[in-house]
Symmetry: D2
């Protein structure tokens, strides 16, 4: 396999650091450029950023000089892939500049809701990748593929086997989200000690909108959003990593807990076949825990290197005629962020979108 040269935009922020950690030791991808705001430009990476990851920074990157993201245009020829973790305000302009020439894989929401842009989770909607072709109409040589909001990921993955086999009419979801979802410094400790904060700005809208787009069907050149509705309440819990979500699903056809378990089994088989060869793919896409008190963030978030989605407490729903309820857990800074996007890049390499 060719070795791909990668740049990280927004490299000094927490999301950028996660790209760096996720690429560390990667068999295909090598980071060869770090970009951040003018303020950091010219500094050594280790001086420009406060490193918040568990592992230590690779020495090679620690001493790499950070460049100004505003001036990346001239450097683009040196890279095969651009990983973007830019803050919202400046992401759209910078990503567009890069996409004119190169593939951009992003954790930001800048392009997520554009019609010709897929929000890609390979296990769920790999076929949306074909929207990339449509982006050529923008006159771009490259393209943009953003990942979903970290709260959408666990929901969308866990709904996928249900949607495919039983159809979905309605979904109610309540999230208990980890502190790391707010970045750093993020949530003040005084707000969360002995407490829950039942609000995360804009989160509910994003999850409701993204879930139906991601589960939507490719229709000619478009993707048609899935025809069900999602209603969410998103809260912040005193947990470091791992978003927990309670889900109530009304299905089109009857779907018992056993039906769901069996559908997950088939889903996992298919995933293994299709993505098992990608370096960041977990052995099991969805892990079903049968203990009555799982999934738990601390015990399940690192399953599959943080790339598995864990589902538990699968029960028949007590309101819907056809429906189940369950609890799902997904690692928000691994599967739900940079490491999830690395998997997307791996998939696009395999399919020839990135060369």
């Amino acid at each position: 396999m060719k070795n791909f040269k990668c740049a990280v935009l927004g490299a000094t922020g927490v999301a950028g650091q996660q790209f760096i950690e996720a690429c560390s030791g990667h068999p295909w991808f090598t980071i060869s450029g770090l970009y951040a705001s003018e303020k950091s430009a010219g500094k050594k990476y280790c001086d420009a950023c406060t490193w918040h990851q568990e592992s230590e920074i690779e020495p090679r990157l620690a001493s790499m000089v950070v460049k100004d993201v505003a001036k990346i245009e001239g450097d683009l020829a040196h890279y095969d892939i651009i990983f973007s973790a830019l803050p919202g305000e400046i992401a759209r302009e910078a990503e567009e500049k890069c996409a004119k020439q190169k593939p951009v894989i992003s954790t930001t929401s800048a392009f997520r809701y554009d019609e010709d842009v897929p929000i890609l989770i390979p296990e769920v909607n790999a076929e949306h990748a074909k929207l990339i072709e449509r982006q050529k109409e923008r006159g771009w040589k490259g393209f943009v593929v953003p990942g979903p909001n970290c709260t959408t990921v666990g929901l969308a993955v866990s709904l996928k086997p249900i949607y495919d086999e039983f159809g979905i009419k309605n979904v109610f979801m309540t999230s208990m989200q980890a502190l790391s979802g707010a970045g750093y410094p993020g949530v003040p400790s005084l707000d969360i000690v002995d407490n829950i904060v039942p609000y995360i700005a804009k989160e509910e809208d994003k999850v409701q909108k993204e879930t139906v787009k991601i589960l939507g069907a490719p229709r000619g050149k478009d993707v048609k959003a899935a025809a069900f509705a999602v209603s969410c309440t998103c809260t912040r819990a005193n947990v470091r990593d791992g978003h927990t979500e309670t889900v109530f699903v009304e299905t089109e056809k009857p779907c018992s807990p056993e039906d769901y378990r069996a559908a997950v089994g088939r889903f996992n088989e298919r995933m293994k076949k299709e993505f098992g060869d990608l370096p960041s793919a977990p052995k099991m896409s969805i892990i079903v825990r049968d203990e009555e008190n799982r999934p738990q963030p601390r015990r399940d978030r690192d399953a599959g290197g943080g790339m598995s989605t864990t589902v538990g407490r699968i029960r028949k729903d007590d309101v819907f005629r056809n429906g189940i309820k369950y609890v799902v857990l997904s690692h928000n800074t691994k599967k739900g962020a940079a490491k999830g996007e690395i998997l997307v890049a791996e998939y696009l390499v395999k399919k020839g979108y990135i060369k």
Copy 2:
């Protein structure tokens, strides 16, 4: 007002302690007997129990000798009210023994699901008190009135103004429950630090069953359960006190967030008129917070002396044609336990059921 002599059963446990704390300085009720298991009988109260309340024990009670609950029968003539906080296994037998002669107000679930027993929350279903009359058919001179599970309380109170004015079709609820709900020693710290436990034994069944019983309509000698369904997922969060619940309600008639706010206003007015003179009634039964990040357990649990129910994040639901969603918070060891039962006793005194 006459002064009522009260006995507390299960006085050494956490729930019993809460009765003692809630009666401290009460204008009508005086604790004159403390009962616990044989093991504690004969000891001074302060030696028999490990006190877990924030306030100090009243010296008078600290030195009171605990009696054996198995032998309470002979003492019953000395009491006007029996407050029971007995552990599940022995509650039914002991409460029955007492109810043959005296009013028993209980936090246990022993009699909750009997047809002739009301689960009383004065603000919600005061008129269920008439079931007390039916208990005479058991040959009892007294009666049993249990309170609901602590998780049911906030849900039932917050649904009441909706149910009365708009009708309810379906309810989805996810709870994030406080540690104190599990008693002491309760939840091991190793299970909850940096974690959520998405399971509480039997809790979901209780809440689903109790909510519709409490909101049910008296029909002749019976109470007919309300004709809607509730589906819950109950979780444990790293919070000391205060149960937070996210609620999605489908209503019969259109009910906008403004409609709900207005209905709460009318509800509060009515409560003030009917219960405003009871010593433990809060000034506002339901407090609506308009800040986007409330209610929060630490900031709102003590509102109204822990007896108010706080509702926030009232929004139109995104799935139901007619429906709203909101977050509700209720103090599980005050309104949801002994102090809530003290209010019940006050109400029954006012109405002449307790003399």
Copy 3:
């Protein structure tokens, strides 16, 4: 008693809010002016600040218009006392401006280490108040009296009875400080969940320096620092309020645990006599807990309205020939901040320094 008109400088910050909360309902002091930076000036107080206190803001103050602290000079005639909770950088200049005309009671460190400025804790060094006279040599009509660092308070108060009766040679102290000591937003939750941070900038120097100044003896016009040394290590713990400190004290004369308990008893008697009539003085200055697992921040911080110092685990030290070790707890945002300064102001009123 005359009613004193007070201004609060830095009113929108957390420390300023604590002055406002501590003055609420105060029998002598009425807040009649709120000052903050230019940015807040002209706004209603409730719009200018994010209120972080447990109680609600008094409506009268919520609607009071905040003024620009840079322009306070012209307003000074309207106030009897200036309470300052300004951020470090601008405190010195603003406090000096005010002190030229009025008494300034401050939680900041701006003037703490000036020779003619007492760091006042009435229970410990009331007689240092006479340094106020020396400040006239600056040409001031008013004066500045700062309180100590919040970590110094519990240490100094608990050492006082030892110092007076047995003498002190050396002190080792380790603090486990509450999150609220860092203000708001303060400590990021990601830094403290499942963690301890063994460092607080400049804290150790402050405590070491202030403790010996506070326990120093007035000598002519000066205060001579106490002739013992203090060595500290200060850490941050995952606790909302209440600083816990472990203390090892080498004494001049033998001092058994019983000796210390008896000395505390005498100290409390004296305090009651001297300060018992001040509105903010607690009934017991020092509370000794005999349980083997106290003091604990959550259980003891609110003792005496947050104004008592709680000492426990008093034991003979295992290294010093003469010495004891103990654990002390003090409420960092009550006794250790604004409410402690209100007590200072009360004392200065009583002694005629403030008229």
Copy 4:
């Protein structure tokens, strides 16, 4: 290297589980017998215990049948090493029974204070192993080697380079200990949320006694305790794993922070040479962190696979003429428990004490 057959006593408890986890995949040691109380005997291991470790149980062990520890005598011929994690009450009798025939490596305190029993930390007092010879005088063919209390380990390791090069006169230590030190269920969450508990039963005595024994000098057939005194205060913090300790050391000779750093460098070199070939030895025995806010339990506990001791905040002490202060962190359930004992066993194999 020969493969050693090992039995684990107390296998179902948390400490026993840690032996099992630490032996998983071990190149020399294979667990071939699991022993627990009569209650568990006859059950499959996975049914007899509630597994609390992060990793999953090895399938081979999950299905192994647990035996009654009271009847181990007849089985001893099958084992080369006995790892004991028995609860205090029964440890002494059972360990003695085993030691008559086989090497017993233990995490319990049963034999710790016997004169002919070494408390072994290879990095600190490898030469104490010769006490094993003296145990033959008991008529034993095997022997007992217990490890220290988990709180002693970090202290003893970090003091070792100081003691060897500069001598020690006095030590003051305050610990902030992790929840896992109390086993499972251990500390109730209600006791520790928003709190510190400044007391751990018997801990201070153990640490004070063990530290000087461990640093003691072999003198003929005995070990003479080191001639300095240790004074501790031990507290419990809201941290899952990793004991943090603040240490103030008075040295015989001057020892600057730089001196200590240099001594640690030499110590690490020696350790590498002597123990670098043992499978459980970390690359660095002591890691010195130069950041001003380290060590932190969450960030440093897993260094060296939980086997490194991390020291930071090394400063000149402010009280002692000759002395330093620092903060040390050690993983209480790895280096401070079973994994630390595995290292001891490895050392004893290497030295021929275990064959």
